[in-house]
Symmetry: C2
Subunit: 329 residues, 2 copies
Amino acid sequence: MSEINSAPTMKDVAREAGVALGTVSKVINGIPVGESYRVRVEEAVAKLNYRVNSYAKGLKTNKTFTVAVMVPNLISPFFAKLVNCINKALTARRHRMLLYATDYDPTQEQEYVILAEQQKVDGIICLSYNPDLKVSENLPLVSIDRYFGAHIPCVASDNYGGGRMAAEKLVENGCRSLAFMRIGSRLTNEPNKRKEGFISACEAMDVPYTLKIVDDGTPYSAFEDFLNEHFHEGKLDFDGIFCVTDTLAYQILGSLRKMGVRVPEDVQLIGFDGVRSFGDLDLFCSTIVQPLDEIAETCVNLVLEKGQTSAPSLICLPVHYACGGTTKE
Amino acid sequence: MSEINSAPTMKDVAREAGVALGTVSKVINGIPVGESYRVRVEEAVAKLNYRVNSYAKGLKTNKTFTVAVMVPNLISPFFAKLVNCINKALTARRHRMLLYATDYDPTQEQEYVILAEQQKVDGIICLSYNPDLKVSENLPLVSIDRYFGAHIPCVASDNYGGGRMAAEKLVENGCRSLAFMRIGSRLTNEPNKRKEGFISACEAMDVPYTLKIVDDGTPYSAFEDFLNEHFHEGKLDFDGIFCVTDTLAYQILGSLRKMGVRVPEDVQLIGFDGVRSFGDLDLFCSTIVQPLDEIAETCVNLVLEKGQTSAPSLICLPVHYACGGTTKE
């Protein structure tokens, strides 16, 4: 590793180029100057390896090319991939990402918003668990999965359509009685619509269904109890299961194997998210895939264009089904 | 969601508190003033919801409480968990994280370092694939897994010890002939020592071993060919395999199952990293676990304390073995 000497200033550039300080400033800020001046300044910048002080620039232009991204954590492969996609979309637009991991804590989320304001970020993209989050009206905010109101754009997968798709796929694959399982936050959010879509499809197809819905923090054994209650003479009461996430589907798959239930022969299982082992290897289960690249692109476009009154309040992006071995096809 | 009106200035705080601007400045910067003045300023700050402009502060104090973290991506669960741990360690010290994902591209890594300098970060923690990375000598840098030289602290797992541990564990579990498989960068880096530790333990125990080592970018089928070459009359030539990562071990496990080789009955398999499905559920295989929390803590302490001449050039943190079902114990 080689090293660069301590940072040169704009004055050093002016001296090296033999021009006035104001000329250097113009060139750096893209204001036209005579061609020969521009060339001399650019050569001096290159020679001295001059770097713009973005703090000084941030004070002047009121723009920092920095966007704060707030998610619960990076441990969940869904959040990790989402942040990876947002980072790519920001980088492609020459913006930087300040990352906040909130650990689902509403107080910490509010503190991070204050930090982001201090940092003078150009906007915030958040996947928040704080329905009362307070954000300055001057700071562009785009929300993922949580609808805050008409003035804050919310970007999500088509969760309702995905829930319908799961029920329809199970029935198409021969299932005659379905179950839906969910563990999650009690707060209203877009992913809750998975259940509503699932129920609406079951009712439209006139297929019987059972629900098992528990709050975050409930021990996983609640699902094992539910499975056992519906297990008679080596058979489950249902032959198709839709789980609200791949994480839950993966756990249910483990329980079914322990009970001696064959998947997909006896019971077919669909999750939601579309995450893969090691990021890009196998799916953990058959699943409804969220379009994370498109969600990220949409969020970044919205946060950077904010101020346009025409911004929609909710954008739902299309999901698709992928067979991951826990369904017949 | 409620909203806050546009940002008040330090002047507004002085007016509200009925004190001079200089008094407000002192209180905000922690310089002692009379108790009654301090209380009045703090009340005005709270009432007006005043936020320090960190860009103005950054210009003055030459400190931004921001650390840049550079990793190839967040798709790999190993990198995602590492970044999650670093973020936690920075937050605990009231520092922010600027995240750069480099996609293994040395040019992009160099560009990010320039960006980080412009952003006036307090330091960089990087997991770099650019052995020629140029960084200003004024900018504290801590490297993970790549040794740049005596003046740049490098933090890594005890990769050599982990390689030894894998070989010893396989032999302890009854294996009599071992194989080592690796796909990775040709660049010298700390994880390469896994192989050296493995070989040294095999030689010390006088156990025969085979190596299969290919460069990044080689198709996975190279490993299937290797397995087939060593497969005679339904049996492999070796009964213990150490893979350089859990990712590779997971892929090898799939190949062995397809070949009808039973794991762990016929062959035992150990990976390296200790990543878990969905972040905190099952291990993918038996593995040598990297101490990511400790690596993160160490990096953050080093980057924030940089300048102390006593900083070591290499810190290797202890790994441990965990059985994940692909070994007998």
